[in-house]
Symmetry: C2
Subunit: 417 residues, 2 copies
């Protein structure tokens, strides 16, 4: 029933994307500035729309955590505007010729960075994604089709109206920023199959949403975010450093994808390390769930089940496992990890090398907290998500990851013989 | 019914891929040499298996074109072996650190090239794909699961036995090269959803096969090959050059994806160009199908229908359309093209710039034949296909496109505050 409506959106986005590919960096930056300004100027209208969503959320009995994600405040609107302004300073990836060479027959062949075209974003409750995604897509020269969650519908609509109008007034083609104005699941499913209009889909949200997109989409998907991250403490680790990193990785912000979910400890380090680690973690309110060998050292620890090795708690809960050696740690990580972020704490040069080489993940750390897997922390600027797949982009995805390339070839009449 | 069998293949491939990621370039090159040698030594066994397929193909009434694709000869086996040997000289992409930098907090962050892991290849009749794909995947450090067409089953099985045994004897982990030993469609469909074991799927074959994979796969797909390519002759083109390129693009090898399928001609060039182009093309046996304006100049030309603009003939047939200007040519290409290869013939600097910028395709040429879109012709070495999608790889996909990256981070106890 939404087919016609969605195809119209897709067609507008496609047309806008062809124009947008040729828009200058200056115009894009002016638009980002105008969008930021407009968000601040239309603050009351956006807050009023958000209040409608909050009211409905409370009536529906949404959890406090969900309500908090949904909530907009003057501060949060200012942060969204600041996020747009931060994009202005980042280099425009479009147009960079990454390589150019000449063939023996005189053909000159170059590889130039171009926008992906039309990006579809399917996301959940947080309305700030609307602004972040629109800003990043715009700076990289892409049209965007946003499909947010039903809880944030009024907020997303108000925000999109404001930023889309501001962008158009600043010279961005109409249709470059559009919201799908229905939150029915059928509309999302149709969107996932719009290969004619959408070049790439990026789901942002929990594991359920991401899996639904991966399972249903025929449009290529950039999978983001689920992080069942491990920290492995080797027998030769500096245990003070290990404790500091473990506490940071678990508790500095437990609800995010780069937080640690399982702690692995070498059997020779377990007797000395587990009691001090447990004390420090419990002081921060962390519940531990251990394997049988962990519970020999920490008898008051809850037992862990097979399910715990697979769980991304996003909460103050930590699974703990004692392993016989590096090999067992790597096997555990490659079996249960989600290829996001993995950490070893060690003083052994060779063990660090082996871990870096053999662990299959977007980011592999030696002696630092998993919490650093983040576009800003890596020094890459704003990110649209953290890719846990291997195609196209792996790890934090910024402006460059929102582009493709094309070959441009300059000839003088060459033919193939 | 094939679930258990396929999962066993997947698991073996995954395990092999973890080991293969750490195998040295020398061992991989030795294996390629051994595979080539073994192909030549076991030639009679392979030819006998091929004869079984040929016999069945004739009994089934396969077309001569299909039978020719299926046929193996001593020469073709030598070419397959030479293809493997050519890979030895290419640089190993695995392990290249493409960038490394240090953050203000002292974290050293590097991006290193790693294999994709397990690659699934789903392909049709030509048994040489078995060797090409296995060789490329191996050199880039990937395990491969091959699923060929039913017509070539015996040939593919014989080839896989030979090269897989040779690779294992040369030190490659067992399971790195496997063939799915059933050609039932159900098996292919299961394979397309084996996200736990297969990192990337590459379909190789006709538009039907590729669309089936794009529509059904939940594993990320690298889409290859369909080429509805255009050559556009501007009003200011050198018409002799245009004729030479047009004839080459259409007739040098009409059955391949980078051959021209539609000729676009500026209305001011049509009266002078179409008669000479038609004469040269018809001399090579090409059938023309023109729009109404083409037929004003070439009254004996068959009329083209809407379907002709969308058709990849892969044959000595050419659609011809007269357009009013560059704008109309670009619109036609972006509407009907398959984002493969597009060519402009012009002497106008500004028109060349506009065409290069606004045409959305993997390769955009000025004044050269479309037939150059090819890994070897670009100087990139052997290719596994030509990507027409925008994620990960665009254009000819060689060894580098069969890799991913991971971030490696060296710390000294850094935590996030």
């Amino acid at each position: 029933m939404y087919q016609t409506e969605l195809e119209a959106i897709g067609q507008r986005a496609k047309e806008a994307s062809y124009k947008l590919a040729g828009v200058s960096t200056k115009t894009k930056n002016d638009a980002l500035q105008a969008m930021a300004k407009s968000l601040e100027e239309r603050r009351e209208m956006i807050l009023a729309a958000n209040e409608v969503d909050m009211e409905a959320g409370r009536a529906k009995g949404l959890s406090n955590a969900l309500l908090d994600r949904l909530l907009l405040t003057p501060d949060r609107i200012r942060e969204m505007a600041e996020g747009l302004r931060a994009l202005i300073a980042l280099p425009d990836p479009v147009g960079e010729v990454t390589r150019m060479w000449t063939r023996p027959n005189g053909l000159q062949i170059g590889k130039i960075r171009v926008p992906l075209g039309v990006i579809g974003i399917i996301y959940e409750a947080r309305p700030n994604v609307t602004v972040d995604a629109a800003g990043l897509c715009l700076k990289a020269g892409n049209a965007v089709i946003l499909r947010g969650g039903s809880e944030a519908f009024n907020s997303n609509r108000a925000i999109t109206q404001v930023i889309s109008a501001a962008a158009t007034n600043a010279g961005i083609p109409a249709g470059a920023i559009q919201l799908v104005e229905t939150t029915d699941r059928e509309a999302a499913n149709l969107m996932m199959k719009m290969n004619a209009y959408i070049d790439v889909l990026i789901p942002r949200g929990g594991a359920g949403l991401i899996q639904a997109v991966v399972q249903n989409a025929t449009v290529p998907v950039l999978e983001t975010g689920v992080g069942n991250c491990h920290v492995y403490v080797e027998e030769d680790a500096d245990l003070k450093m290990a404790r500091r990193i473990v506490v940071n990785a678990k508790t500095q912000r437990p609800g995010v994808c780069n937080a640690m979910e399982t702690l692995l400890v070498h059997e020779n380090a377990a007797p000395a390390f587990l009691p001090v680690a447990a004390e420090a973690l419990r002081a921060k309110g962390v519940e531990l769930r251990g394997c049988s060998r962990t519970r020999e050292v920490l008898p008051d620890c809850k037992p862990a089940t097979e399910g715990d090795w697979r769980t991304e708690y996003l909460d103050l809960i930590l699974a703990v496992k004692v392993v016989g050696d590096l090999e067992e740690a790597i096997d555990h990580i490659n079996t249960y990890g989600t290829k996001h972020t993995e950490v070893i704490i060690t003083n052994s040069y060779q063990k660090a090398r082996l871990f870096l080489q053999r662990v299959d993940a977007a980011a592999v750390f030696v002696n630092a907290s998993s919490r650093f897997t983040d576009g800003h922390q890596f020094g890459l600027g704003a990110e649209i998500g953290i890719s846990t797949q291997k195609l196209h982009a792996r790890g934090p995805m910024g402006l460059e990851e929102l582009t493709s390339t094309k070959y441009i070839i300059f000839g003088d009449g060459q033919i193939r013989t």
